[in-house]
Symmetry: D2
Subunit: 292 residues, 4 copies
């Protein structure tokens, strides 16, 4: 196992009480350059549709559920309904739902970014530190598609390295700049492939993100189970999220984006992610947009 003091980190870089992590890298300049990417207004979603299971059903309904990610129940509003409404129950980190990981999601040796003891960061009533509150004004920055396997899929069990990310940049003709959101495509549907030997991010790839000061990671490649690199299992979460303070868009779907980039002939765009203003949580569903 890699020693903790050899791992890249941003603990202390923006102070001992910092809650924004790499969102600090999205400066006014970065934002100004980002909106310049939006020219036609063509818009693409980076989110999977939520797999919703209904919670009410007639007596002859099937009893199981394809997913328990999001449970939905239509509400009674009168014998003659005057309005329709639902109750929704969801787990904030479901592997079937595209969601933002807040910085306190990952615990390392009883601490969360940037070194807060977990009980100081939050409790049964929710998080005071490291929560989804940092997404309150949305995340608006430049986005880049890094397609690791254009028109195809990474091999099973592949460990993505910094060199892989460099190759994707070269193919796209883009250069990652401080404050960018990167959208990584490996051609895998994690939710559908859970029993297979998934490809995943290595520590080398996460170190690459650190060197390039990436602000946000989104992708269809995450931390593989079993790990692709036994010396640094869970590198994206345990290093990228917990040590770099880099928010992750987990379980993103870049397929439609890949098509749009090919059609537009460019791999950069305005990235806008504005989840509901849940304020004391460690995660929240999100539908990030790429606007061309």
């Amino acid at each position: 196992m890699t020693e903790a003091d050899e791992l890249p980190t941003n603990w202390g870089r923006w102070g001992a009480d910092d809650e924004r992590g790499t969102l600090n890298l999205i400066t006014d300049d970065v934002r100004a350059r980002a909106v310049a990417e939006a020219r036609s207004g063509r818009t693409v979603s980076l989110s999977r549709p939520m797999p919703t299971t209904p919670l009410v059903a007639g007596p002859a309904a099937a009893s199981g559920a394809a997913s328990t990610a999001v449970l939905q129940a239509g509400l009674y509003t009168g014998a003659s309904p005057f309005a329709m409404a639902e109750l929704v129950v969801l787990m904030t980190h479901s592997p079937d739902v595209t969601h933002f990981d807040a910085l306190a999601h990952q615990v390392i040796d009883g601490q969360v970014y940037p070194g807060k003891p977990l009980d100081e960061a939050g409790g049964p009533a929710g998080f005071r530190h490291g929560s989804t509150a940092i997404f309150a004004q949305g995340v608006v920055t430049r986005g880049l598609l890094l397609d690791l396997a254009p028109g195809a899929a990474l091999p099973a069990g592949h460990g993505v390295t910094g060199a892989d990310l460099d190759s994707a940049c070269d193919r796209a003709g883009v250069e990652v700049r401080s404050g960018d959101a990167i959208v990584v495509r490996g051609g895998w549907d994690y939710a559908a492939s859970r029993d297979r030997h998934l490809p995943g991010m290595t520590l080398d790839a996460v170190s690459w993100m650190h060197r390039h000061d990436v602000a946000v990671y989104a992708g269809d490649i995450g931390d593989a189970h079993p790990p692709v690199d036994p010396r640094a299992p869970g590198a994206l979460h345990r290093v990228g999220l917990a040590r770099l303070g880099m928010p992750l868009v987990d379980v993103a779907d870049p397929e439609e984006l890949a098509t749009a980039c090919d059609e537009e002939g460019r791999y950069s765009f305005l990235f806008v992610a504005a989840p509901p203003r849940l304020g004391a949580a460690s995660g929240v569903p999100v539908n990030p947009l790429a606007i061309f």
Copy 2:
């Protein structure tokens, strides 16, 4: 009560099976003009923070809740937690939460936009027609702030008219164009004022929106209870949403936007709303952004 055949309507305008309503007005041209509004990248949220009530608490905890809008429970992930997660329970149309009303939310004489019998539109398992699925790619268009009471609040019980909206446009130096999102500010906090005589939208104001082909309505003024116009109670929902097919951002908070517009010296901006991809519901929490 105003007769149904005298009310403005878009039923049939885009076909008998239309699901997009006034989102049809957001054409490629509209979107291209919209992104041109984003110049500095300054971003403002139009959403209230969600009032979250924790669902687990020690024996000495208070028993009540300020709100039942959003219920949150931190989840156990092991005797030494390795990751934090939550279960969230929410009602899609809570008056304490900024949310998008989908077209099937409002039922008129057993029908939803554009005249579908309710049982055809959906059932216990959710909506097949008129659902939140139309927000899948987000809503990206030009936004305008129409401030009805700059620096102040509308009088209690005031019925907002088309003339009021015209005055706001004049003050802002803007002209509403087909496909715009309008953000209306009246200076009221509906959630905090529920027992008071609220100001609200009249049928005249909703007819104005129809004439101007507004695509999306967001505001801190909605349908007052008791109604401001007994001949057309609930005009925004019963006419704007159900007959015009105009999605509503209910319980928006335009206070910060008003400040930003004053500072920027302009009242138009890029409006981006991308709620989670809940697909079979009548509403969904949303955090719309104004990007300057």
Copy 3:
């Protein structure tokens, strides 16, 4: 379809506002005779175990669920947990869960027992009339096992008649008396058999219950889908529950009871059902006991 005025009914028998239905038949005398059945204290559950689906799981967890009947999430109570707790989400009439149907569960032509318009009986906030509140002091009465297929199962699609119930009484050497709870065994697991042609109760059997003034029905045979008797589909719910006002223990499991009765050499016992004191609902999970 059988005409409504030919159907057995208790509407009006105990007044227009009655909420207890056939529980009125459990008089002091009935209860005194019932407790005399409890001699050894041997106790048997008539409930299926609840099929619980966990709502939190690690990244490698399976995504589906065997059932959405009862959803359970362990709660975080601190970095070092000092107490364990759960959040439970359940649907009150799940076909996988043994539950009591309250009288307002079944709606007939917009009315619930004994003829109340649905909107008078309840609303979005729950039931004022016909709710689970009638189970507040539990249901304590004599129970009888009527085994329709000792050691075996009824044929698929069999329509249970009054003659079938008479035969079961004869085999058991028991006579149904006013106020009794009957526990019917047909040897079917409804939850596991949902796609098969289930046996079910006919109108004739429900009329038999009416003639015998049965107070409570529990059983592994219910209303079959498709119906066994097209002239009176859903007889147990639409006539037994809605017209007789006879509470149903839906999806009971009498297998262990059948064994105990054989061993004890008697088919009568003290029946005790005391669900949680949910007060404004149309149903509630219950674990009825047979005490010998």
Copy 4:
């Protein structure tokens, strides 16, 4: 603080894997004597009504909630409802709800009864050891009312001792026997009194229960916050539940029982508690009955 090795304990008494704790004391003989207590069939609930908060409400509804103990939402079953149903969300250890504490509820130094490491007892998917599964066949035993303050209430902050319990037995003319359930009345409504200096159980009282081999504790007096005995805070939970393995009926309501005992002229009865068959939880709502 009292040293752990001076505290009464049943760890090891019924083996290292025991899950039943003091329910082991309810032998066939105990049960036979218990049912002999049931003579008239008069039945009294020992449960508070559940305080239910509706989760759907019209636009003019109040936004708060008296309690978040049990959340209920009526379900949509069609434009003309054919059946009524609800979704219920509850926390298993709400201080507003009468519930059974299973043995694994209380964690002592990372262990649960009888000395299992917490991670062996359960995980995010629920409990394998020490769960509510032990209540599957109900709890049927003799019950005794021990009224600590007949017709009145204990003084605020009073620490209940073994001598107090002896006095209550003397007044009632009863003697506690191995396997009994005791129902303790102190005249306090914990749920309504949460900010006051509550009376509570001392270690001395819990040691008394141990000496008398009480099988089940139910009462309106529990563990006070702040503790009545700083040397042994939370004695009922930390010693009675965790070390003795004695299931607790938390937040019981013995007021109606006290009246019934006075009227019946006896303070012993058949105690029956049969919660829903939730199988992997640390607690479950229950409506225990006293049957005379």
